[in-house]
């Protein structure tokens, strides 16, 4: 029987009938996941529509192991972050599993255990090596990656196919109009297509860690770096200034909406789906939504290419993974490890991948593409191929240091000041670098 059919049967509740015949590692049985009668695993999970589908699978694990899962908290990540910090402060780490993220994990110090000691070696081997490496803090695997984020460039195909656009662009910029390979082209195209206030070239997230991340990946693509080897801030370099100017030039040319500095990810996705934005550098989670006529005006007109390159010849690839961690204070580490194994299993990653979330198991990449291929959904096949390539070749994480968010909180208001013209790009970055230096000193890195 093919794996796909098996999954369907599984989902259809045919588990019992099949249990006797099939002995796959994916089966949700006590042979695979152990038996934990009477154990209650307490979990704090990230909430929100994209994440919840997975949690609907939990009863299967409960049935197989005899354990109970008590979801004591379900909040968006920023709320959850605050709650976990409160728990550290109050010493109330009386729970077993917490949702985590590679960008956030380093700040939590040593509250989470090294999963190398509880996860089975064959399970770990099935994961993407880079994803596991990025989940490691100070040599300790503090989290199991659940799914990853990286951004690639969506565009409206018809704009690029239009002969009038091609001719006008060539006449104005002197090179052919084709989906952009570099950030310089990206900027030209965005300015070319924009007709504010009805149509915009692109959008970017304008605040919080989101714009810091965008700046960071562009900085790297332009050949720069946030810190040198000794953790001195180096982002106030020429590459840094060039990266800031990309944001500022688009803003000044009205190629992005005037309110962009208050935008976050939801505004970006909603904007591109509304058909009023030409190009959108965004995560894979939107792909299906963009191509769904019920939600999106650009359905069937969505093109996708890998994120552009910077001056350094490198592509942008700011990446991170959502993950699960187990507390050191957990009383039920084996049951918790079993549940984490289940939540990141092949079948469950398939469920999330069907929604467009990027898997962290190598086999799921292949199987999801094959599944969409068999269903004739070429667009989603292309999505997984494109994102698969960028996960393999372009992806890099922010520095995995405890004060990352604090440094980001110093950087992003200065980026905004530079974009708004309150300071020059160089002055803004110098100021941010000075603030970052202080933070790194306070935290013992310098």
């Amino acid at each position: 029987m093919k794996r796909r059919t098996f999954n369907k049967l599984l989902a259809g509740g045919a588990l019992g009938a099949l249990a006797g015949r099939m002995a796959s590692a994916d089966e949700v049985t006590s042979a695979v996941y152990g038996s934990f009668d009477g154990v209650t695993v307490r979990a704090k999970l990230i909430g929100g529509a994209q994440y919840e589908t997975l949690y609907a699978e939990i009863p299967k694990w409960e049935a197989a192991t005899g354990a109970k899962v008590d979801v004591i908290s379900r909040k968006n990540h920023f709320e959850l972050d605050r709650e976990i910090k409160q728990d550290i402060a109050a010493g109330t780490l009386d729970w077993d599993i917490g949702s985590n993220h590679t960008s956030f994990a380093p700040q939590y110090g040593d509250i989470y255990m090294d999963l190398n000691s509880v996860m089975k070696p064959d399970v770990l081997a099935a994961f993407d090596a880079l994803a596991l490496k990025n989940s490691t803090v100070d040599g300790s695997l503090v989290q199991m990656p659940r799914h990853s984020d990286v951004s690639n460039l969506y565009y409206q195909k018809s704009l690029y196919a239009d002969q009038g656009n091609k001719d006008a662009f060539k006449a104005k910029y002197g090179y052919d109009l084709a989906p952009p390979e570099t950030f310089d082209q990206f900027k030209d195209h965005a300015i070319f297509f924009a007709k504010a206030p009805d149509f915009f070239g692109t959008q970017y997230p304008g605040k919080d860690e989101a714009i810091t991340g965008r700046f960071y990946e562009m900085l790297v693509a332009n050949g720069g770096a946030l810190f040198d080897d000794k953790w001195n801030p180096t982002f106030n370099s020429a590459a840094g200034v060039k990266s800031v100017m990309w944001f500022k030039d688009l803003y000044d040319a009205k190629a992005v909406p005037a309110g962009v500095l208050n935008y976050l990810w939801d505004d970006l996705g909603a904007g591109f789906a509304s058909g009023t934005v030409a190009l959108d550098l965004d995560w894979a989670g939107w792909a299906a939504y963009f191509n769904d006529p019920a939600n999106s005006k650009v359905a069937n007109d969505v093109g996708l290419i890998r994120a552009p390159k910077g001056d350094g010849g490198k592509r942008a690839g700011w990446s991170g993974s959502h993950s699960f961690s187990i507390t050191k204070t957990s009383q039920n580490k084996d049951a918790a490890a079993s549940l984490v194994t289940f939540l990141t299993s092949h079948d469950n990653q398939m469920i999330e991948a069907r929604k467009g979330l990027l898997p962290t198991r190598t086999q799921v990449w292949k199987d999801i593409a094959a599944e969409f291929g068999a269903a004739g959904n070429d667009f989603m096949v292309e999505v997984f191929n494109t994102y698969g390539q960028s996960m393999a070749e372009d992806a890099f994480t922010p520095p995995l240091i405890a004060p990352w968010i604090e440094v980001s909180n110093e950087i992003f208001p200065r980026l905004q000041k530079a974009i708004l013209g309150e300071m020059t790009a160089q002055a803004a970055l110098d100021e941010a670098a000075a603030a970052a230096t202080r933070i790194m000193q306070d935290n013992g890195y310098l």
Binding site: A89, G91, A196, P257, A258, G259, D267, P413
Partner: protein, 307 residues
């Protein structure tokens, strides 16, 4: 008279009774307010970071406070908060007065109108934040869409980004949410006003403005001060609104003390510093409240004199 003085009756009782009656109130306030405040006062003298519990035991004296003295961002937020409060409370008072005056003149359907007037009070501040985030969105917000459809503006106005408009937008949201409190209290004042002085003034040839200025306004001022006091008690509710609408941004243009404190304390995990900021902001609220409270006492005295 054989009857003993009424006043006696009450004074003769043991002096303990009022304290016993007040005991529950002070117990619950001690637990929820005083006790935690003591703790946060202590942490403001430490370099306490949430994610490093042992920093709680390091005493650094006034360093957080002296650091704050030279922190330009903090004082900018401080000034902005004073501006925000001053504008918001005054606009709320004026708008509330206008609404109350209009409704007080309408007799038919007044109960329904009063309920409608209180409509915004049903909205949780967090909801008000999201609501106006979408109203003021420059691209898909209904405000810009309406302006464009009516040809009142050709460009998308960046309500939440422009320096002045961003402050305007958060003040508007705050005013929308809280004007009702003023309106309902002022309306109560207007409806309780005795008719005789007004009639007498009319007979004496006063015009409507003079009647309003010299009779109505002094009468309802105590109500206004009550509303001001109530509002200055819980203005920090505006944190929810601002946090959702702009998060204090962009480039700190709408940063108020509360958003700054929350970011410092939780996102940056620097709770000691955040609590030092909070203490300074508490002094600010106490100053506002005390100011209105004095006014209220004075106005009450004035009224009793008028009686």
């Amino acid at each position: 008279m054989a009857r003993y003085s009424p006043k006696r009756l009450f004074r003769n009782r043991m002096n303990l009774v009022p304290f016993l009656l007040l005991l529950p109130a002070f117990m619950v306030l001690a637990l929820v307010v005083v006790f935690p405040l003591g703790f946060s006062l202590y942490t403001s003298f430490t370099p306490y970071r949430l994610i490093r519990p042992n920093t709680l035991h390091v005493w650094i004296g006034l360093r957080n406070y002296t650091d704050l003295m030279g922190n330009g961002d903090f004082w900018a937020a401080f000034g902005r908060t004073v501006l925000f409060l001053t504008i918001a409370l005054n606009v709320e008072f004026l708008a509330g007065l206008g609404i109350a005056l209009l409704i007080s003149r309408i007799t038919w359907g007044q109960r329904t109108l009063r309920t409608i007037m209180m409509f915004p009070m049903m909205f949780s501040p967090i909801l008000v934040g999201y609501q106006f985030k979408f109203v003021f969105n420059d691209n898909i917000g209904i405000l810009n869409n309406a302006l464009q459809a009516l040809h009142l503006s050709d460009g998308a106005i960046a309500w939440l980004v422009d320096r002045n408009l961003a402050m305007f937008s958060i003040i508007f949201a705050e005013v929308w949410m809280s004007t009702s409190v003023f309106a309902i209290l002022l309306l109560a004042g207007l409806l309780s006003m005795p008719r005789d002085p007004v009639e007498a003034a009319r007979v004496d040839g006063c015009n409507p403005w003079q009647v309003f200025r010299h009779i109505t306004l002094p009468y309802i001022m105590p109500f206004a001060y009550i509303a001001m006091t109530i509002r200055s008690l819980d203005v920090a509710r505006a944190y929810d609104i601002v946090h959702v609408m702009t998060g204090g941004g962009p480039a700190g243009r709408t940063e108020l003390l509360w958003t700054l404190i929350a970011r410092t304390g939780y996102n940056n995990a620097k709770m000691g510093m955040a609590n030092a900021m909070a203490y300074i902001s508490i002094l600010l609220s106490i100053a506002f409240t005390y100011f209105f409270f004095r006014k209220l006492i004075a106005a009450r005295k004035f009224m009793r004199g008028a009686d």
